[in-house]
Amino acid sequence: MKKLSTLILLLAAMLPAMAQVQYGTNQYAVRMNIGYLHNITYGSHAGFDFGAFMPINEHFEMQADLRFTTANAHAFGVQLRPKFAVPVGEMFIDARLLAGLYEKDGFNDLVQAIGVGYRMDYVSVQLGMSTRLVIPYPYDWHDGSNIIVEPFNLCYRVEAFVRPQTSPWNISFCISNMTDYQIERLWQLIFMANGRYNIDEHWQVNLSALCKPTGMFHLNAKYYAAEVRAGFAYNF
């Protein structure tokens, strides 16, 4: 009982300090990554990602992402994140619009997602929903019956960090059904690992890996896709 009281007191004393922690960066930043991508459908291919992070003010941030791949499946997305500091950590709302351009297969998909999240130094969790419009390409503007709508899909993301957010380097492990470039169906889990190292005030290097198995909820999981990306970010 004494131990528990001490722990509670200690946590209470830490609260004001923790509330001041800055999650992520508060600087405008641009980043570029190059990646080796593989999946069973397209085989090996390369990806080029570009992104911009815009912390408009202390309660609102934006992110824009663009990806080109040599498999001719591209994506771009915009994320808007209103955020609110709470005594420990930060709550945020994540609203995103993501377009997948599967040119080689004659489909575009447009996903709108909204979710709520909570992040603190070592953990970030997010839960929301999305709607997907699948639009055959080329689209016949006189016939809307070809658009396929998947009206409801659950989105989730759980990420654990090994270092506090203010650390000059960090590694995280994440389970989700969404990346910056794709929102998969509820049952399609994606496993990710991300690392960053701040070289100096402006330059940062990034390394990330992703694994997407298939058939987890068919109870016969097998490999489907993997990617490794490396690149840098410049903080203004």
């Binding site: 459908t41 085989g43 055959p136 709508v149």
Partner: protein, 294 residues
Amino acid sequence: MKKTIILSAIVALLCGCNPETTNLDIVGMFSGSSAGIDERIDDSFRYNDEHGMPVINATAEEYKVYVCTDTHVDFTRKNWERFIHDYRADLACPLALHLGDLINAQRHWDYMKRPLDSIPANPLKSDTLLAVAGNHDLYFKQWPEYLRLWKTSTYYAIVRTPAGKQDLYIFLDTGEGILGQRQTEWLKQTLGWADNQGFRHIVVCTHTHLFKRDTSQGHTSNMPLEETYALIHLLKQHKVEMFWCGHDHSREITNLGTMTSIIIDALEDPEKHPAYLIATMDDDPIAYRFVDIK
């Protein structure tokens, strides 16, 4: 108290991994213990090479195909028996299809197959029942059992009418939510060959569905998005008329331009609205209706 919780967790975990005590292969969720798609394709192709693809002779220009899915047979098989009885009683039906999840879990294969021997077939017509594997037919290393009774899961069948018109049915194994590279290659080759054969109708049959347009997203997983789009693109390129599947247990008809995708209701016994599909194959576009089993 702590010991009890730890002990209960260990027992629950062990039960979840043991095929004797559970119907769900929890370990398979993270690392599939059953044969993978490439191994299954090898087995299917070996059988196809030795025995050839089924060719069924219809007795009229217009015939019917009975299609069911997700019977999940375990301790009862009332709806499954009803389906067998119905397609065998219909003189216009030379071909019946089962789109996977024949059984609910391991140990029920022979019980599932028995009505096919006990319900009398009509000697006046072809009595062919073809199947593909669903996920419930595979996990807990059940592929050898499936193979013993159903022989192949990636193949095609041709139905010939008296006037020499032909309809093509292509069966794809998506029992683990993926087509895989080799099966996709085989599908491309088969569809390329079919382009020059003058088939009246081409239908693709598999277990896993493409989309889910109701608000539930179902309780079932799909193929990955990239593979879904690539598959539809390929099927539409080769003028496939219909895509029949199951897996989701609830009926859904999706217009994909030149192709229609139909998720057929589950036929399992405890299902609230069990149903099967009857397609009418003639010179017109394929017509279909559902038969609800009360």
